[in-house]
């Protein structure tokens, strides 16, 4: 059950033009830096990317936007990216904005084999257009469909050779949810260990959801909003 591949390039060798990708991370926190770099180098095109954010101009998914690799973004918040806004306003980029919790839950639904979920988020708004609504206990909910992707690309703190993953702090965010929703899931990790070294009670993503894993390198972990207090 060894799922280790050599590096990011080997891991994405079969990602092709026109595919749908999920990319973990919230802002620049917990994004699969190595996999994004490999996608940029491979220069696959016409991608549909499902990710909570779209990176910043010169990092994260922003690097893929610069190269016009992305046909459509499905995100909840894209406010940190001027190039993104330019492509959107000029019509070069198709964008579907959905509530953050809906995005998270639709990924989880796929991983749990649930074809649809109900959420009140977006009832009465643009988000509800064309969607089925349903009232339970007097409250209105939208029916939202599970999200699947050809590839889910996630970043974990530690992982083992069988694909078990542990995330760190708020870098967890969407990563375990997308890991469950990929037809093929690729995980890059800061530290790859032999099977048996991770505490079985502390694993966030069971290896059954992960198809390929590799040790990432040169993590930049850029901070978007450096906020500090005086000493």
């Amino acid at each position: 059950m060894n799922k280790v591949v050599a590096n990011a390039h080997a891991a994405i060798s079969d990602v092709q033009d026109g595919m749908t990708l999920m990319l973990g991370g919230f802002g620049l926190c917990g994004i699969p830096e190595n996999l994004i770099a490999a996608l940029v180098q491979k220069n696959v095109k016409n991608l549909t990317c499902i990710s909570n954010n779209a990176g910043v101009d010169d990092f994260g998914i922003g690097l893929m936007l610069q190269q016009r690799q992305v046909k459509k973004m499905i995100s909840s918040y894209v406010g940190e990216n001027a190039e993104f806004e330019r492509q959107l306003l000029s019509g070069e980029l198709e964008v579907e904005l959905i509530p953050q919790g809906t995005l998270a839950t639709r990924c989880m639904a796929a991983g749990y084999g649930m074809p649809a979920v109900f959420t009140p988020a977006g009832v009465g708004t643009e988000v509800a257009e064309g969607k089925e609504t349903r009232v339970f206990n007097g409250k209105t909910y939208l029916m939202e469909m599970a999200f699947e992707a050809d590839f889910a690309l996630v970043k974990a703190w530690k992982g083992d050779t069988q694909g078990n993953l542990i995330f760190r702090a708020t870098a967890r965010n969407f990563n375990p949810l997308m890991a469950m929703a990929g037809k093929t899931t690729i995980a890059e990790v800061e530290e790859l260990v032999p099977a048996g070294e991770l505490d079985p009670d502390a694993i966030h993503t069971p290896g059954i959801y992960v198809h390929r894993i590799f040790q990432g390198k040169d993590y930049e972990k850029r901070i978007e909003q450096r906020t500090v207090k005086p000493r």
Partner: protein, 217 residues
């Protein structure tokens, strides 16, 4: 007229011991600075944290540890991390006692608009639609009027809606308002602000009780 710090300070008076609270970006974040010392409040950050602490000391920032505004933060003892599905799960299940967030417009029926200005701004709703659709108790921190003097407390929102009939209370730079079947119910005036000024600045239905105390700080 209240400044941003005073709006936050006034909202902090709504806190009760033992509350789980989600504070939005902007003025709401400042509320954390005014939690009374004898009170225990646990802050939820919807990217996946309960028990958010203050900003770190310079040099101690952890890129893996940010809040929903993408700011570097710290944690307090008893904090816990989780994924975004559980985070919005606990929000949706009504486990968060109080949500404070900003708004561009609020209507007198509790509708709120705060995510989009057509043709101008396309940043996305983030977690706002989830929060307003599910929170048990929502307080909005906002400026009463736009820069060109137009009321943002309206009879109906002109901008795309974030959520329907969800806002329970508004704290603006001019006063504090409940929202119920009567519309905006004026509870308190900002220091030096007259009822007349508030009436003139409010486009939506406004109910003015016989006595409207002035806030003190």
């Amino acid at each position: 007229m209240l400044n941003k710090e005073q709006i936050a300070q006034r909202i902090a008076r709504e806190l009760r011991n033992g509350m789980y609270v989600n504070l939005g970006i902007g003025i709401p974040t400042l509320v954390a600075n005014y939690v009374p010392e004898e009170m225990t409040i646990v802050l939820q950050s919807e990217n996946g944290l309960l028990g958010m602490g203050p900003f770190p000391f310079d040099g101690e920032e952890d890129p893996d540890l940010i809040n929903a505004g993408k700011q570097t933060i710290t944690t307090i003892p008893g904090s816990v991390f989780f994924d975004s599905a559980m985070s919005f799960g606990m929000i949706r299940a009504g486990k968060v006692d109080l949500t404070v967030l900003g708004a561009m417009e609020v209507a007198d029926n509790g509708d709120i608009a705060n995510w989009k200005i057509p043709g101008k701004m396309v940043k996305g709703m983030g977690g706002a639609m989830d929060l307003v659709a599910s929170a048990k108790n929502i307080i909005v921190a906002m400026q009463h009027c736009s820069r060109d003097g137009k009321s943002k407390l309206l009879s109906s929102c002109t901008l795309p809606i974030t959520g329907l009939g969800c806002v329970k209370k508004v704290v603006s730079d001019l006063g504090v308002f409940d929202i119920d079947h009567r519309g905006f119910v004026l509870l308190e005036r900002a220091p030096g602000i007259s009822v007349e000024t508030i009436v003139a600045s409010t486009e939506g239905r406004l109910f003015v009780p016989d006595e409207v105390p002035e806030m003190t700080f």
